[in-house]
């Protein structure tokens, strides 16, 4: 076994395959939203298109998700410096902010829906529900990943100093953050 493990000179500096997989997956997710937003652009040129004013709640959720990107970045830094207590706190904070983001999104949906803007009819609203909803699902995926890492951070048996899972999670988290900002600006400006 030793000879296999320490095979000399094969150590080329390469990105970890899991990180690489994540980058390709993000490209894939981008294509999905690119498909949806281009469908939106194509349709918005058609007659009977009804515009949509986003409620102010979505600006709050934007602030929340940007904040959570900062906290997860701090968590990653603390982890690398082995400040485990701080790391756990920051991770927990990110988790709470993520949940808060989803909550605000649902609140925004609820507000729109009760003001009579539903899935019926032509216009931006049905697109908004579908696109924001799908983005929300991607955030939920990130929250679940955070939860798993969080539980791991507290388990006694599993003391790992391998930063790969938190690195992958934070990259993904920044990604859904950036994706949200894109979608938010898209719906503000392209009507």
């Amino acid at each position: 076994m030793e000879s296999v493990v320490n095979r000399p000179s094969a150590q080329r500096k390469r990105i970890h395959p899991y990180k690489f997989i994540l980058w390709v997956a993000m490209g894939s997710i981008v294509m999905m939203f690119a498909g949806l937003t281009s469908a939106y652009i194509v349709k918005s040129n058609q007659p009977k298109w009804i515009m949509l004013d986003l409620p102010v709640i979505f600006s709050y959720s934007t602030a929340v998700i940007i904040l959570s990107s900062i906290t997860i970045q701090i968590a990653l830094k603390e982890f690398k410096e082995r400040k485990i207590a701080l790391y756990r706190n920051m991770l927990a904070l990110t988790f709470v902010l993520g949940v808060l983001f989803i909550f605000l999104q649902l609140l925004g949906f609820n507000q729109l829906w009760s003001s009579g803007i539903t899935l019926r009819g032509a216009g931006a609203a049905p697109f908004m529900y579908v696109i924001f909803g799908l983005h929300g699902l991607h955030v939920v995926g990130g929250i679940i990943a955070l939860l798993i890492i969080f539980i791991k951070a507290f388990s006694r048996r599993n003391r790992s100093y391998d930063p790969i899972s938190i690195e992958v999670a934070s990259t993904y988290w920044h990604f859904v953050d950036a994706l949200w900002i894109y979608l938010f600006i898209f719906f503000m400006w392209i009507q």
Binding site: Q11, F20, S28, G35
Partner: protein
């Protein structure tokens, strides 16, 4: 990061067991379940994909035989059909609804379940780790998930065939409004929902697979295996995976919008159209069915290349090995694969020339479409020059590889007809299109797949397939494919539309009745010969002649340096180092020079 560091730092990556020559593991015995069912060994996952794909191919092929019975003998009844199909074939004649369901399922099954995941899943899983020199995939766990999502989607699609209203019946493209309205046809009810769910699971499966293929090819190559030394199979699979990863999500978003139209009352694709079956106009506003076509074909066109590129890779490799010559123009082959990949994203609207597309935009798509002929022609030229003056060994794999080139040329030429929008106005949705894509995609991709199976079967199962049956299989399939699809060009030029249940009311097509019957008879013969192949396959898995040497074809690539029956982890001890490209055949008086052999002092280096 090297293979070993990855394997040792990650709990779920490839086995770190001591690997002994005959595949027994040192540390612990694997249970039946971890070895054959929830296996994470890429070679076992390959076999799972292959066998699932074969089962689907038999089902999909059988469906075509059934609807060919209707087309060949529209005035006759076949009482045995009623015994099998019950209410779908009352009095021994296939019901119109069921005819459409059969056509739809035939297309869906063969395009997606056989030629996409059956083909890519099999050979990407088998060849990537073995040919780049890795112990397994970047994430064997994701790889296993990819198969099980495929399995789940298969179960969903299969179950849709047994429900009261029958499976989806709006064609493999599932255009709305037929696919969006339950009232539109029987198959537009639960069958359509199951189709969409099955396809969504399918997309997840192919994304999980594709991510892994790309990551493995780029990150897990053994020492010395630069990207310019990998065999063309790997390049082809690489570009296939890129196509899939970038286009399947768009299809998924199209499906999601369709599901909303079906169940949530949205108007993405539906507008206030009048429905004949309910005598009412829909309440929807502003939807556009063309939007779906754009989203569908943005995947749909890359999809046809997702099917053909792996076949091209397999053919290039099998052909070079059996011509005992380097592949002609390796870099041109890679470049043309790249060009095809890029262009594949820019031509989707050639499926929509008659959808009311702006003619100016149409002419842009004509130009881009005809551009694809350039890289395609480069590939054909390189295959022919590889064969030219080679020491050809006509193994069954080689015959299928040559047959592939023949089919690809024939079908590619008709693509140029269709790519001109002015001609396509006449030919769209006729049997000409059916002939075009069956020859260039259906039969060609099957030929590539057969070339791969005949060539790598000894590595997969440690036994050979029976050659006599293989030669019968090849010649009958080749002749049969041309006899079936060549005449369809004439029918299409005469304007005979595709997807019609019965042509007898059209006097102008009556003269094709004999031809249709002829096509149906040949289809049945060709189908029977495929069953012969299936028999050969399973017989040889258990009873075939045993492989006695490590490298029976005298090939250069790494998979032939593993033990005859490699265990999980592929190589005993170290993974070999690579010193040259994969195509040093007939070099300086030697028949072949394996990739692992260092470059000699006076040898010309590649």
């Amino acid at each position: 990061m090297s293979n070993e560091t990855v394997i040792h730092s990650l709990p779920d990556t490839a086995s770190t067991h001591d690997i002994e020559p005959d595949g027994h593991h040192g540390h612990h015995k694997e249970s039946f379940i971890t070895k054959y069912i929830f296996s994470q060994d890429h070679k076992m996952i390959c076999k799972q994909f292959l066998i699932t794909g074969m089962i689907w191919a038999i089902i999909g092929g059988l469906f075509s035989v059934l609807f060919r019975l209707q087309l060949g003998y529209p005035d006759q009844t076949f009482p045995f059909l009623e015994d099998f199909l019950g209410k779908w074939a009352k009095g021994g004649r296939i019901e119109p609804e069921f005819y459409y369901a059969l056509v739809t399922m035939h297309g869906t099954i063969l395009v997606f379940f056989v030629l996409t995941q059956g083909l890519s899943g099999t050979f990407a899983n088998f060849l990537i780790p073995l040919q780049v020199g890795a112990r397994d995939m970047a994430s064997p766990f994701m790889n296993m998930l990819s198969y099980w999502f495929f399995f789940a989607s298969s179960v969903v699609l299969l179950s849709s065939m047994f429900i009261e209203t029958g499976p989806a019946s709006g064609g493999w493209t599932s255009y709305p409004p037929l696919s969006a309205l339950g009232d539109a046809s029987l198959g537009s009810n639960t069958g359509m929902d199951l189709w969409l769910i099955g396809m969504a699971l399918f997309v997840v499966s192919s994304l999980l697979g594709g991510l892994n293929y790309i990551a493995t090819i780029l990150n897990m190559r053994t020492k010395g295996m630069s990207m310019t030394r990998v065999p063309l199979t790997i390049w082809a699979i690489f570009f296939t995976a890129i196509l899939g990863v970038l286009s399947f999500p768009v299809l998924l978003s199209g499906f999601i919008l369709l599901l909303f139209d079906r169940h949530a009352g949205t108007s993405f694709y539906l507008s206030d159209i009048y429905i004949g079956s309910t005598f009412k106009a829909l309440p929807n506003e502003g939807g556009s069915a063309i939007l779906y076509q754009h989203l569908f074909w943005f995947l749909g066109h890359p999809e046809v290349y997702i099917i053909i590129l792996p076949a091209m890779g397999l053919v290039s490799e099998v052909m070079s090995v059996n011509a005992r010559k380097p592949i002609f123009g390796y870099m041109a082959m890679v470049g043309s694969l790249f060009a095809i990949t890029v262009l594949a994203f820019l031509v989707w609207a050639h499926h929509m020339f008659v959808s009311g597309l702006n003619p100016f935009l149409g002419s842009v798509f004509v130009l881009l479409t005809l551009l694809i002929a350039v890289p395609s022609a480069i590939k054909v030229f390189n295959w022919l020059t590889t064969l030219w003056r080679g020491n050809l060994r006509f193994t069954p794999g080689m015959l299928f590889a040559i047959g592939f080139v023949s089919m690809f040329i024939s079908g590619g030429l008709t693509g140029i007809f269709l790519g001109n929008s002015t001609i396509d106005l006449h030919l769209h949705d006729t049997y000409f299109v059916v002939a075009h894509f069956h020859i260039v995609m259906g039969v060609s991709a099957f030929f590539g797949m057969f070339a791969g199976i005949y060539h790598w079967f000894p590595k997969m199962f440690g036994r050979y397939l029976n050659n006599t049956m293989a030669y019968i299989h090849f010649w009958v399939t080749l002749a049969g494919a041309y006899l079936i699809f060549w005449p369809m060009h004439y029918e299409g030029l005469a304007g005979m539309p595709r997807r019609y249940y019965d042509f007898s009311p059209w006097v102008s097509f009556n003269n094709f009745q004999g031809l249709n019957r002829f096509i149906s008879i040949v289809s049945i013969i060709v189908f029977a010969v495929q069953l012969l192949f299936v028999f050969n396959f399973f017989y040889s898995v258990f009873k075939g002649r045993k492989v006695k040497t490590q490298n029976p074809w005298g090939a250069n690539t790494l998979e032939w340096t593993t033990p005859i029956n490699p265990g999980h982890g592929n190589w005993v001890g170290e993974i070999p180092e690579v010193h040259r490209w994969a195509y040093d055949y007939g070099k300086e008086g030697r028949e072949f020079v394996p990739q692992t052999e260092p470059v000699g002092a006076n040898e010309q280096k590649h």
